[in-house]
């Protein structure tokens, strides 16, 4: 509430939305992320690529403090959103997550109706003043999730009854419905067919008009298509970070080159 003016000031000052400095993540004694420095620009799509197990999801989850739910997980270093340290003891992770939404690797709709899946976030954040407004939000979100035409006649059937790809789009729509400032997407298209993938990519493109989007993907083509910035992770290290075009055409690090040409991974 009270920090709104300050936040707006911060936004106008810089177009760096989030930044991590010296970020280390440990699962117990295992270090999953080592010394990662990264700046995520506002109104930009940033892709995280890297071989399986290199810590992409782990780092992504640091950005909205989802790692707080894992007791053995420890995060060091600083991560800021609009210049404010999100790991500051004064920060309520619940408020943070309302601003930094997330789509998970595995589709996880609530075992409720499609409508309630979407409406849940807006309801708890008080985004709709009336039933009609809520209906609007639901429709808009489902359209953005490229799901509206498929489900408009069965909004009150359970979301778990949808196919895997539809569930994932439902989760995307659910994340969009709360109007986050940053949207974190962990392999959102791994369960989608090419048509739905294209729709989601379109959505990402549209979202970047207003938000910044961070997307983890195993598809080089996808990273190249949707992102402006790309970060390559390897064994917990951020090996290379830069303009997507530069990473894919002219990688500086030999590890990046061998990964995108298919030699490690």
């Amino acid at each position: 509430m009270f920090d709104t003016p300050k936040r707006e000031a911060a936004v106008t000052k810089t177009d760096i939305k989030m930044s991590a400095r010296n970020c280390q993540v440990f699962y117990g004694d295992n270090q999953a992320i080592k010394d990662v420095d990264v700046d995520i620009d506002d109104k930009t799509v940033t892709a995280f690529i890297g071989p399986s197990g290199c810590g992409k999801s782990t780092f992504l989850r640091c950005l909205n403090r989802m790692n707080d739910t894992i007791p053995i997980c420890r995060v060091e270093g600083t991560i800021t959103l609009d210049g404010e340290d999100i790991y500051d003891p004064k920060v309520d992770p619940v408020q943070l997550r309302a601003k930094v939404g997330m789509v998970f690797q595995k589709p996880n709709p609530f075992p409720k109706s499609i409508y309630d899946n979407i409406a849940y976030g807006p309801r708890i954040h008080g985004l709709a003043r009336s039933r009609a407004e809520l209906d609007d939000i639901v429709e808009k979100s489902l359209r953005r999730g490229a799901l509206w035409d498929e489900v408009k006649d069965r909004l009150h059937e359970p979301g778990t009854g949808l196919s895997g790809g539809q569930q994932q789009r439902l989760c995307i729509a659910r994340a969009v419905a709360t109007e986050p400032e940053v949207l974190l997407m962990d392999e959102p298209c791994s369960a989608l067919d090419p048509i739905a993938t294209a729709q989601v990519e379109e959505l990402i493109d549209e979202l970047k008009q207003n938000f910044s989007v961070v997307i983890v993907t195993h598809s080089m083509q996808q990273a190249a298509r949707v992102s402006q910035k790309t970060a390559f992770f390897h064994l917990g290290n951020l090996v290379e970070y830069g303009e997507t075009g530069q990473i894919f055409t002219n990688p500086r690090d030999p590890r990046t080159e061998s990964y995108i040409t298919g030699r490690i991974g």
């Binding site: 939404g101 996880n108 954040h125 778990t160």
Partner: protein
Amino acid sequence: MTDIARNGSSAPAPARRNRSLLEVDDRTRRRNAAEARFKLMGSIAVIIGLLALVGLLTSILLNGMSSFRQTYVSLEVYLDPAKLDKDGSGNLEKIAKVTTFGYKPLIQKAMVATVAANGVDDQGLKAKKIADMISPEAPATIRDYVLANPDKIGETVRFDLLAGGRIDGYYKGRVTMETAALDRNVSPEQLRIADALRDAGVLDTRFNWAFFTAPDASDTRPEAAGLGVAILGSAYMMLVVLVLALPLGVAASIYLEEFAPQNWFTDLIEVNISNLAAVPSIVFGILGLAVFINYAGLPQSAPIVGGLVLTLMTLPTIIIATRAALKAVPPSIREAALGVGASKMQTVFHHVLPLAMPGILTGAIIGLAQALGETAPLLLIGMVAFVREYPAAPPEGLFDPASALPVQIYNWTTRGDPAFVERASGAIIVLLVFLLIMNILAIILRRRFERRW
């Protein structure tokens, strides 16, 4: 049992190739034999279990079904004002002074008259012996009626009175002419009169509602003993357990499972809860006696104390079941809720708890069923006392003395008259029916809220 252990020691595997699929090799044959042996042992175990169950149920049903029927004699009793209301004032206090003893002659007269009126041979029995065919409970029945309707004094009223326990037993096969000849409580002549009265339609055996509503009765009148007070007492205790154990247990589990930090202290609590679930119930009875009765000064034999003790006993069961149900909710649901910015509390109450509900309810019902059948702790807190007064309606009634179903069963099995064996078996059937209903309820609830993720 399986062949995994043999793997290491066996010689290098023979070539798999060039073998027909149509012939079974040694290894497969051994595996199949092991499987067949295991299936056989499993079926034998199941059959033994089923046989034991069938044996138990048939013996209880054979012994107990007859308690649901009771023999009554229909008598026209003249409520003689000369006996009941000597000065004719209609003063209730005076009428109340007449004890049940004063009603006996009325019954005797009515019985003799009925025998004569139906043209039944009195077998040369004295009037007192004929009157003895009626239960000693009968005067109390009439007295209660008169006290409730004093204006009926002077009229002739038709009563359905309990036949004596032995007469009743005669129609249930417990008493025969031969045993009656050796029994000083009944004679073959009385049985013959009973048969004649039965032919005349005065005496009949019908469904025994009183078994469910009447209070316990003394040793000499098993025919009047019922489960009313015990059922009420058990119901009150279940009420206490439900009201206390369910919210407490669920709240404790939610806290432990979802909110409490994981450290040595919560580990310790967890271990102790598991241990509590294994503590013999009689220990809870001693605890209840020491804490609730001796220290807190709650009354003995009261459902509130029984309910508190059973609550303590049921809590670990409910907590363990609830925690298991909460654990079974996939973490992805919690992540989804947290991911859209729900607080911990919202996550738990909007998403996790509804999904865990069937498990929680099943656990709670199983805990309640356990508590319903528990006897030992109740004996220690005095619920075994002989109680004839119905407890009042809750909440005051919770402090009135009452009995409980399992204790009533225990109580009846310790009594001498064989008619009480029948009553005890009948009570067991009632208890089993209640347990069955609760288990069916648990199954229905589980089905209804079947996992939907």
